[in-house]
């Protein structure tokens, strides 16, 4: 019965994203996703509190079930967040969409390289990093500013060294 909590939370998260995606607000994708996640999280907590409050479980079991189901919501929301982000920035998805536009006709590699060029990718990524204040620009030069991307990068590099590079 407690699984209702995270499932309801995820439904609210998804619905909020659909609604926010249709309202012409001056907020970015990332903020939209955090707002939706937050509203879903409140729904999860409220539902779990209502359900656990009525059950005859011990305090330890209540904590265990609470953590388990909050984790289910967080995992689901993280995967959903990534599905949305893949659609925004994944080059492979962009390539597939370029092929879809031509389907069933073939798309030559040279034409694809114009749609999905390295220069276009660099410009878009720089713009996003500048927007997020992860980097700054002065006198035609670009400088690093401490940000979450750097921390994420270090984590990935550590994992890569631990798992793959040997």
């Amino acid at each position: 019965m407690l699984v209702v909590g995270p499932l309801l939370g995820l439904a609210v998260d998804v619905a909020m994203q659909v609604i926010l995606g249709r309202i012409p607000l001056a907020i970015g994708h990332l903020r939209r996703q955090f707002i939706s996640f937050g509203v879903g999280f409140v729904v999860v907590m409220a539902t779990l509190w209502l359900l656990i409050r009525q059950s005859p479980l011990s305090a330890v079991d209540c904590a265990g079930y609470g953590l388990l189901h909050v984790a289910v919501y967080v995992f689901g929301a993280f995967c959903f967040f990534n599905v949305i982000n893949l659609n925004i920035s994944s080059l492979r998805i962009r390539m597939l969409k370029a092929y879809l536009q031509e389907h069933p006709r073939p798309l030559p590699d040279e034409v694809l390289m114009v749609t999905c060029s390295a220069a276009g990718m660099l410009n878009a990524r720089l713009e996003r990093l500048l927007d997020g204040q992860q980097i700054r620009m002065a006198d035609e030069r670009i400088y690093f500013q401490y940000g979450v991307v750097s921390v994420v990068g270090l984590c990935f590099e550590g994992l890569r060294r631990f798992l793959v590079a040997h």
Partner: protein
């Protein structure tokens, strides 16, 4: 509490098997290998559960919670692992800027890091290798699975008001 403990034991067992496998030899198809590990651990776990006479005692709701936790954690790990397998252009930019320190970089210097050879061609190859596109006369076109993925991505972008960037 037993449901949370069982979920954690299952997930960390899968991680341990994954690390041991990768330390012995990194598999060629890493995502497929991860799916095999994460798929087999619950099967093995349920066998152990049968052998121990169904202890710890778990209700149907617990099993659903465990299944959702495990599936969610597995998907999250697969998402994270994708970042280990392939370097993101944003991370490459940030790392290059970090290395440059107070000197910073020009766009041209960063363009030398974000190249077609490093980011575009390998992804195009991956689409071919994964059977999402096929080589035909005059270029490449979507296969049936590729068409489904491209249509799903387009539908998601439409539903959530996503505007892609490279």
């Amino acid at each position: 509490m037993p449901a949370l403990i069982v979920s954690l034991v299952l997930f960390f067992s899968a991680l341990v098997v994954h690390v041991i496998w990768w330390k012995v030899r990194v598999p060629r198809h890493q995502t497929r290998a991860l799916l095999i590990v994460f798929g087999l651990i619950p099967v093995f776990g349920s066998l152990v559960w049968q052998v121990t006479g169904g202890r710890p005692t778990l209700a149907m709701g617990d099993l659903m919670g465990i299944a959702l936790f495990y599936a969610g954690a597995m998907c999250c790990y697969l998402v994270v692992y994708a970042g280990v397998e392939e370097v993101s252009p944003s991370l490459t930019i940030v790392r290059a800027l970090e290395r440059a320190g107070p000197r910073g970089c020009t766009r041209a210097e960063l363009a030398a890091e974000v190249t077609e050879e490093r980011f575009i061609r390998p992804r195009l190859e991956a689409l071919r290798r994964d059977g999402l596109i096929e080589v035909v006369a005059g270029g490449c076109r979507l296969t049936q699975p590729g068409l489904r993925v491209a249509e799903l991505a387009t539908a998601l972008a439409c539903a959530f008001g996503i505007h892609e960037s490279a």
